[in-house]
Amino acid sequence: MLKALTKKETYIRYLKSLKFSLYCMTHPLDGFWDLTHEKRGTYAAANTILIITLITRILKLRFTSFLFIQVYWEDINIFLYLASILFPLALWVVGNWGLTTLFDGKGRLGQVYMATCYGMAPYPIIQIPLMIVSNFVTIEEGQFYSVLSMISLIYCALLIVAAMGQIHDYSFGKNILFTIASLFAMLIMVFILMIFFSMVSQGVAYFVSLARELMFRI
């Protein structure tokens, strides 16, 4: 495994797969088919895109002009802020895979993850230049900011939906149906997680109070 890191081919393949995300952006159907079926994507590239997306999201807070984003630093928790991407991502990947694997989906769990990460590529590609340009405009000229920002998110969403259709080899209608179903699956998982955590905390509280009571008596 580590030996592969010393080989030059590994890096060439990594860079090539990273560059392939650009092809996926402009040719989503063709690109995402090749991503898994022709094995042109790598996990390394997917992780890189995810990390760049996370970094962009943090950099945005600091380096966007205050005209567009006002940050109340006292309330910012960087980990929670990152979790706002990572947690839905995890839910989406698990929810989508869990459903599609029961209904003839060709994609495996890792492939769902990889395709979703590739689908997030437009976010840093649009947001980073936007962040820089935002410092050179006035508020009147700033209309484009919210529009482009919105476009980057919609672009990502469309890419991810298209990617799911391709890696699972679904028709258009089936793809839309399972996208919506996955969103519901995410909701259900959140619900179950909340119940789980509240039950665990109550269970712990029960034993803690039991122990307190015992210590008090003895």
Binding site: F66, L67, Y72, F136, T138, I139, E140
Partner: protein, 500 residues
Amino acid sequence: MKNKLLRFGLMAASALTVALAFPMTAQAGETNYTYVYDYWEDVQECPDTYTVSRTLTYKDLGLEQNFKNPESLYVSGNKLYVVDTGNNRIVVLERKSADEFTVVDEFNSIKGSDINELNSPSDIAIGDDGSIYIADRGNARIVKTDSELNYLMEFTKPVDPAIQSDMIFTPDKIVCDTAGRIYCSATGINKGLVKYEADGTFSGFVGATPVAYNITDYLWKKFASQEQRAQMESFVPTEYDNVFMDKEGFIYACAGGQKEEDLDAETVQAIRKLNMLGSDILVRNGDYPVYGDLYWSGGGGITGPSYFKDVTVFDNDIFVCLDQNRGRLFGYDDQGRLIYAFGGNGNMDGYFRKPVSIEHMDYDLFVLDQLDCAITMFIPTEFGSLIYQAMDQFDHGLYDEAQESWEKVKALNGNYSQAYIGIGRSLLRKEEYKDAMEYFELKYDDENYSRAFAQYRKEWVKHNIGWIIAVILALFLIPLGIGKVKQIKHEIDTADIFRI
């Protein structure tokens, strides 16, 4: 070590200069708990802008009879009129010096009318020519007299189809403009202010508050039966609580009793500035609406939004609103941004039980408390005067001086947003855009920042136009050149004559 000593020396020196430059007026211990809201709507404690100079009761003034449910104050020149509704009288005080008030007149009747005795007068106004207008509520009239209280004319119940004929006219608050026109708010009339021409004819209603309703209530009403509908609240405009005419003849009217959800949705305004046509022209450029406190949770059993009972307007368009709910005073500048809030309910000096009226002489404030039967006089502190001074200087175009005053304000309160914005605006006028931008950015003033930035960018482009063109040309020419060189190289490499 030397460095440390030097630093200490510097600190001591700067502390000394600050102490010398701004001698604190003695007021240790007593405070009105002044605050403002910052950009994030967090409460920021603030040095006091006003301090209680004295409280005037009937004893202090040498009156024989205590006030009884007084309802209104009015200031004309250095005279302060107290409308003592419960005793059917009006007391006229004259301000001899900063702290000294003497009763110059006290009357409960006029001369030469059919009914001479005043009956629960509710307000008074003085015309430009010295004629006196009294809202004589119990007699259902507004009476006009000359300065010697000789009856001239009266304004009675308006004849209008919108007003039921059996309704008793109860004028509450009046103002008169320079032409002798009267604007009156009356109980039970919610069409706006009643406007009379100088000759006494009723000429219509002015400035009704827009009716606020929410869509769910509206839908319910659509489906409700006649009986159910009668039980529901009807959508009617609120009546004005008080009116004030500023120097330029605009009427500031406050309608305090607004519902929380309407204030929240900003469908209604607690305070309005009416022009001649009755439309609201108050400038609201603040980060939050002009409705007093932003947080309405119950402290001390008081809930709900601020209830603006009265308003007074300084000559430079700063207006101070009186909140009857929490006994607080809210000062707003001409842009509708909060500059201070202070006061509270209680029995101490500077606190109120039921404040009903506010007036001003210059920058001194007078607040009439109906239950305490006392007039509290506030005078600006060092900090308050500096704020006013800075604003006045800015209005008069003295930008250097205004900046200096704002710097002093900032030195007294480093959390005061308006000081930073004030410095920024002065710098902007002095065309020091880069510095102005820094000050605006600190306090998130995006509009002023953009204004400064647009100018800064223009200057920057002007200075660096050569470089900009050079870079753009380079961006085009270098790849072009490289392409050309490569092409020639390629042609040479593949040319037949060099092939051996």
